[in-house]
């Protein structure tokens, strides 16, 4: 479509650099944030966005020659990364790391108490 001096090479370079920068921000977050939940947040959101932008940059740089593979990889990433982040945060809760909750409180502990109020009032971290 735009062959010589077009816009697509610039878009490709911008996407690659932006993806690498967002990945770096996510890596700094994984290194410096205080507990497992916030580290999971940095790794899944910023890391996935960095990978998606790099893949989009690769698809743009090849002038759409590999856009099918890149789009499939982007779809897989966007579908599975939230699931993985959810699984990791549930696992972190089960291993007993207490989250720093806001004014709404610990919703998973409330759920555990509501499901079995007699048996598990004092051990909410081992229930779903």
């Amino acid at each position: 479509m735009m062959n010589e001096g077009g816009l697509l090479p610039w878009i490709a370079s911008a996407l690659l650099l932006l993806g690498a920068l967002i990945g770096l921000v996510g890596a700094i977050g994984v290194l410096r944030l205080p507990d497992s939940y916030t580290r999971m947040h940095a790794a899944s959101k910023a890391g996935a966005l960095g990978a998606v932008l790099v893949l989009a940059g690769v698809a743009a740089a090849s002038e759409g020659a590999v856009s099918l593979e890149a789009l499939f990889a982007i779809a897989v990433l966007l579908a599975t990364t939230p699931l993985a982040a959810h699984a990791v945060s549930r696992a972190a809760y089960r291993t007993g790391i207490l989250p720093h909750t806001g004014p709404l409180g610990d919703a998973m502990a409330d759920d555990a108490m509501r499901q079995s109020p007699a048996s598990d009032q004092n051990d909410s971290s081992s229930r779903r």
Partner: protein, 109 residues
């Protein structure tokens, strides 16, 4: 594969350097991480980074076959994280037996 990249002489090396720096930071967290979930998060972030690096190598060497490897890595990354979660669920459901092993959830590293 016909590659059109503005400023390709410095964009690709700079992107590789940024990804390598991110990998070093995540590996520091992987080695240091006080709990097992921190290490799982670090492995997850490393595979996400690896997807981008494989795609960049496909771009640098002009081999579109490598993007299929990126797709497979994206799928396997999710499976690996789900498998780690299952490992935690077994210990989390039975804290009594986990404590008998000397492997209580609060002491897990």
């Amino acid at each position: 594969m016909n590659i059109e990249l503005a400023g390709a002489a410095w964009v690709l090396p700079l992107t590789f350097v940024l990804q390598g720096l991110s990998a070093v930071l995540i590996v520091i967290r992987l080695l240091r991480g006080p709990r097992a979930t921190d290490r799982v998060v670090a492995v997850d972030a490393l595979t996400l980074l690896g997807i981008g690096v494989v795609a960049l190598i496909a771009l640098a060497t002009a081999q579109p076959m490598l993007l299929d490897a990126a797709v497979v890595l994206a799928l396997v990354s999710f499976l690996g994280t789900a498998a780690y979660m299952l490992m935690f669920r077994r210990h989390g459901r039975t804290p009594e037996t986990a404590g008998q092993d000397g492997d209580a959830p609060t002491e897990r590293r």
